[in-house]
């Protein structure tokens, strides 16, 4: 079964918007009104001045995905929306994670962290802070492996994605003169 057709599949949207106050609220309302929970959200200025780019992941009934996409596209401040279905975009997420662990557990922690191409960015007698990066799935796995070592703090950036090659997104933006 194609994962994108399951009842509670995870959907990833890339949205180009005008960089204005209130845009995020308008977008959040489209999701909330249809009972979709936004799982992660990353916003930053895009390549074009005055415009932002967002990656939003959300879980919900996939029948409604097309409807959500169209409702997002209908927002006046939204320039372009794509949901990356049937694509394999490049995906990155980073996280910071703080473990409260005695020094004698550090060797095992270091082993796990190295396995996941992550690094220790701070440590003292009581704590270790790890910087993780990779796909969201890799982060999930790494965090799961570190769970036994007293995870005290965790923050994830939310994933960011970009389609490879000349994508419909770049074409669409060029078409509207951006």
């Amino acid at each position: 079964m194609n994962p994108s057709t399951t009842a509670n599949a995870l959907h990833t949207f890339s949205i180009i918007t005008k960089d204005l106050p209130g845009v995020l609220v308008r977008i959040a309302l489209v999701f909330a009104r249809r009972g979709y929970n936004i799982e992660s959200l990353a916003v930053s200025p895009g390549a074009r001045t005055g415009f932002s780019r967002m990656t939003i992941t959300s879980r919900g009934d996939s029948q409604n995905v097309e409807q959500i996409k169209r409702q997002l596209a209908k927002l006046i401040d939204v320039v372009y929306v794509t949901d990356h279905r049937d694509k394999a975009p490049v995906e990155v997420e980073i996280a910071l994670l703080k473990l409260r662990s005695p020094r004698d557990a550090r060797a095992q922690i270091l082993g796990i962290v190295e396995n996941f191409e992550s690094q220790i960015v701070d440590d003292d007698d009581e704590t270790v802070m790890v910087r993780l990066s990779g796909t969201s799935r890799e982060l999930d796995d790494c965090i799961a492996a570190l769970l036994p070592y007293n995870v005290e703090e965790l923050i994830r950036s939310g994933k960011i994605v970009m389609d490879t090659g000349v994508s419909p997104l770049s074409d669409a933006l060029n078409n509207v003169g951006l």
Partner: protein, 577 residues
């Protein structure tokens, strides 16, 4: 650099705002003043735009809405901050749901007070996000010309809708020397015009195969002015036509191919046609739940074609086989040459059979005055010349059934939002827009009392609006549902304490008439038609407990349509409100 631009002298933001409205041909602003909006009201003193002072901001929005629906041009409402602005929320929802071009200007506390719980401050842009097509909070006076031009463009283009502009008092007071923008540029915003050729051909091919086609016409056809071409399409194909509540008037309802309104309270013959067609073509209609009933049974075996200017309407509720994205009028223009006459004689005969077998009816004997009788006679006596607005409820459905609308923009009713209190102020707006039109507001006793403070507005401008109150002393539609689905356990529907509406009118210096008996109907309607010195109120005291039929109970399928009062107890509605 053209001379026009050089001449822009330094004005306040409020003056530029008013200048922008003038340049867009605004004739009237409907509003209610207040502290935060004072610079704008002040700027209107020197403008040719006429300010209509209303008695409540909801009334102002519905007047702007009625003006817009009667003309196709954007209606403008102007209110102050805080409660003034929050009182526009219902009007915004009404306009959004029915795709009405409207601009609501709200005064706001000065920018330096924003977010500090200042007097009469409300986060109006925040409160109204879900009920606007778009909105602006203006924080820089230099943005006023651009935002105003964008607002008019957005309100009227594509799928029209309401635009809210929140205007802090320091911004409207500041001097503005920004030039008018050369053109409006909103990246990513598209206004579909002509449909794709391949889709047109697919539609033509599907039509060519149909033996039992049906054209289902909605508000989009009214808005785009597609009615005449839809009529030509129906005639060319020999296909029957039904319309939604808001589609009334796009195609002349007295046309031989017209079967009236479809849906929950549609005519039985329209609904039989929906049930039996092999192809249904939605033209500017959105398969609303009042139209479809139970989705899993709606036209499942028919080929479904959908013409809409809003891509988000495709497959939202009912999926369609052919989707024509574009303006209804342009789509009709391009489709007409691709289609020919279909072999539908048998189908049309079947529809005529249903029309004969299941006509709209009501008891005509006896002394009781019935709403249907009043509206039936109003239809005959106004001879299709009346511009009708309605409120929401039983009277609205009876009016939709018995008043056959012949022309575009002659029927204004709150459909999507179902806003009680809409009808009377909308009629005022329509009468301002079309001073020569014979405007009738058909309202219930419940809805009228929500906005009847506008009697003063109608009176001082001597507007010849005729307010027909269908008074059954109940919130009748809810009472009907309680009777049918809740064992007649009446709860919150008895309007005991209603005023004498004729005496109420007299208090405003407004002419009033009673209709209490069937034999008074014609005489009073004729006198009301002849009375044009100002508004008049006609209180028709009708039987208290009458029901609207046909009826497809909410969430039920078409085959469960009730043609008359059922003899057995019904299930409570499931799956819809």
């Amino acid at each position: 650099m053209d001379g026009q631009k050089m001449q822009v002298k330094t004005m306040t933001g409020a003056e530029r705002l008013v200048r922008c409205m003038e340049s867009h041909g605004v004739e009237y602003v409907f509003g209610l003043s207040g502290g935060a909006a004072m610079p704008i009201f002040d700027a209107l003193v020197d403008s040719k735009i006429k300010l209509i002072l209303t008695r409540h901001e909801q009334g102002a929005t519905h007047m702007a809405d009625g003006y817009a629906r009667a003309t196709g041009r954007p209606g403008v409402a102007l209110v102050t901050s805080g409660p003034g602005a929050t009182n526009t929320v219902t009007g915004l929802l009404t306009a959004l749901m029915d795709s009405v071009p409207m601009i609501v200007l709200c005064g706001q506390t000065p920018t330096f007070n924003l977010g500090k719980d200042a007097f009469q401050e409300a986060d109006v842009t925040g409160i109204t996000y879900p009920v606007v097509k778009h909105s602006y909070l203006v924080t820089d006076v230099a943005d006023i010309p651009r935002i105003m031009h964008e607002a008019f463009f957005l309100a009227t283009s594509g799928r029209p809708g309401p635009i809210l502009i929140d205007l802090p008092k320091d911004v409207t007071s500041a001097l503005c020397s920004a030039p008018d923008p050369d053109l409006v540029n909103i990246p990513g915003y598209t206004t579909p015009g002509r449909a794709q050729q391949a889709d047109l051909e697919a539609a033509a091919e599907a039509l060519a195969k149909s033996k039992r086609p049906l054209l289902y016409v909605g508000h989009g056809a009214v808005i785009s002015g597609a009615g005449e071409l839809v009529t030509q399409l129906a005639e060319k194909l020999r296909a029957p036509v039904v319309n939604t509540l808001l589609g009334k008037g796009a195609v002349d309802e007295t046309h031989a191919l017209h079967l009236g309104m479809l849906g929950m309270h549609g005519t039985a013959y329209a609904n039989k046609a929906v049930q039996n067609c092999d192809l249904i073509m939605a033209i500017g209609a959105r398969w609303d739940d009042r139209i479809t009933g139970r989705l899993s049974e709606f036209c499942t075996d028919a080929t479904r074609i959908h013409v809409d200017v809003d891509r988000a309407e495709f497959d939202k509720t009912v999926t369609s086989h052919v989707q024509l994205l574009g303006d209804a009028k342009l789509v009709m223009e391009d489709l007409l040459p691709l289609v020919g006459r279909l072999d539908t004689e048998e189908w049309l005969e079947q529809c005529e059979g249903w029309r004969r077998e299941f006509p709209l009816k009501y008891p005509k004997r006896g002394k009781a005055l019935r709403a249907q009788h009043v509206l039936d006679r109003l239809n005959d006596l106004t001879e299709g010349q009346a511009l009708v607005t309605t409120d929401v409820g039983q009277h609205q459905m009876w009016a939709a059934q018995f008043l056959r609308t012949r022309e575009n923009r002659m029927w204004l009713s709150s459909g999507g939002a179902g806003t009680m209190g809409y009808g009377f102020p909308a009629a005022i707006g329509a009468q301002f827009a079309r001073p020569d039109a014979q405007v009738w507001a058909i309202v219930g006793d419940g809805g009228f009392q929500m906005t009847m403070s506008e009697l003063a507005t109608a009176a001082i401008h001597k507007l010849p609006v005729k307010v027909l109150i269908i008074n059954n002393n109940y919130l009748g539609m809810v009472r009907q549902w309680q009777e049918l689905f809740f064992d007649n356990r009446l709860s919150g529907v008895d309007l005991e304490g209603n005023p004498d509406f004729v005496k109420l009118a007299a208090a405003y210096g407004i002419k009033g008439f009673y209709i209490r008996k069937p034999e008074e109907v014609d005489r009073v309607i004729k006198r009301a038609i002849a009375y044009n010195k100002g508004p008049c109120v006609i209180e028709a005291v009708v039987v208290k407990e009458d029901n609207v039929f046909p009826m497809i109970p909410a969430g039920a399928g078409y085959r469960e349509m009730l043609i008359e009062r059922p003899t057995k107890k019904l299930e409570k509605p499931q799956g819809s409100t």
